[in-house]
Amino acid sequence: MGKIVFWQGNRAVAMGAIMAGVRFYAGYPITPSSEIAEILSAELPKVGGIFIQMEDEIGSMAAAIGASLAGLKSMTATSGPGFSLKQENIGFAIMAEVPVVVVDVQRGGPSTGTPTKPFQGDFMQARWGSHGGFPLIVLSPSTVKECFDLTIEAVNLAERFRSPVILLTDEIVGHMREKMEIPEEYEVKIVNRKKPSTSFLDYRPYRADPEDDIPPMAAYGEGYCFHVTGLVHDEYGLPTNDPKVIEALNLRLLRKFEKGKDLLVKFSTFATDDADVLVVAFGCVARSAMGAIREARKLGYKVGLFRPVMLWPFPDEPLREAASKVKAIIVPEMNPGLMVREVERAIRGKCEVYSLLRLDTEMITPGQILEKIKEVV
């Protein structure tokens, strides 16, 4: 059994990153994410890792990608405005297939919005923020322990899929403190990117293994000389305008997520077995939803919780299945209704959907959700 600690969410993210093998962090301060940088500036040098405070978020994202290409597991963290700045280079990492973890501790928006208050406005930006429209993995913790575990999972998935992975937390989850147990190192599953086994001369950096459609990844400086670009490229990594090669790359980028889709569904449920109303919530709001459901159960309402833990890909199938067993779904969220659209899309009319929004950057309370449950029932 590991050590019991009383940690802040942001600390759990930082320490989870180190346990996952992250050895490079580049960032730029922004509330409510700054503790992640502060903690890593102290912790990374102790394990021989690198911390650098860059001149801005664009540079941080760029440096993190560069370090990953040179062989280190790397990460950056930010909040809304900084997340927007990182988007162009997140797209670069998608196109060039570079593993990197981007933490976005959401705050109120749009623009500088409310720096110290919680909000869930980046649900769509996390998925669609970069241009080009390609798959992306987004995880969202609700507890401090999950901040730790999902950071490790984010690093593993990034390495596994050679893709950026977003860890979408929020001000409440990032700043609250909870008791948690740190696992022993041997208990933690670590995934490392696949290395090439070909000779230096035969290596083509974007020739994918047929079984998973993911190309083995050499690091700069290991002896292979290869080219990486954000332009559409052939197997050699060299730019091309050939529509056939372009299409083949685009299809492969889709296929690698399709083939790995078993790893790309993650949700949790509570009290759903006999439920006839379902609350669907993520991040900090899922905590209030748990409270509301406990209260509702005491009052005899059959309510359950469905919490997408991986927000993207959205858990369409399990949610549709859950929806077919209930009369109604309530979607409480702290934004103008970003997730409720996804819920409606996913369940294809299997039941009624009710939206509960809060836009004053105050936490949605269990009481509010309970009221809505009563109203819907």
Binding site: F24, P45, A62, A63, G66, A67, L69, S74, G221, H227
Partner: protein, 276 residues
Amino acid sequence: MPRGNIARFLRLGLFPHIFCAGCGHGIALHALVRAFDSMGYNPEEVMVVSGIGCSSRIPGYINANTLHTTHGRALAFATGIKLANPKLKVVAVMGDGDCAAIGGNHFIHAARRNLDMTAIVLNNYIYGMTGGQASPTTPHGAKGSTAPYGFIERQFDLCNLAIAAGAVYVARATVFHVPQTEKFIKRALEKKGFSFVEIVSVCPTQFGRRNRLRGPVEMMEWLKNNSFPISKAKEMSPQELEGKIVIGEFADKEMIEYTQLYQDLCKVAQEEGTEE
């Protein structure tokens, strides 16, 4: 005929290159690989990073570790690479717009930080790839596709900027001055710390055409007749120097390098730790 064994630094299968006839960037590419060769480097230890633009296509032709990034961000990507693997000889190749407009912030901070790398700007006074729009180095009064009445802004002196930001080695040559170009690149590669070489290049297609320098030959002659070594420039008045190119080495100083400092910091952290 190329000197030395530069073929090992070229992806020969990719030639002919995409540069327009008369473009100066090929001369710079040649000087760069010659410098690598005469430094005795092996392709596996060389890392060439670029942003976006015509000049930023250079790494594609170089047989080494090469990375073509996003517009303006070459030095930020290079920072991550150098920190992750300090053994690599890191060179960033950028255009004037790439380095000084969109990438200006990374440029001054990379120079200030003094990471061991060499930044090379191919300054053709114009945004070449996007069609001849004015750039921060477009001369006052010159024409560009977004400056049809003449550019009214002041021209940026990138060497002065690099010196002010703390680069330990700063030099300028032109694609007409081939031996100097190669010599300055070599000095920059040797130098421990952030070194900067500006190579004034020519863009007959986008700059020359609009500014009465009809073809490559006229542009080269213009470079020849308007460039002065520092020694000569010292005797010239500001009026005489107006619109001229001063070439030579402007800075060469010693400053402790960043990866060295970082390794020392790691030792401190590992010995002392910090309070939680």
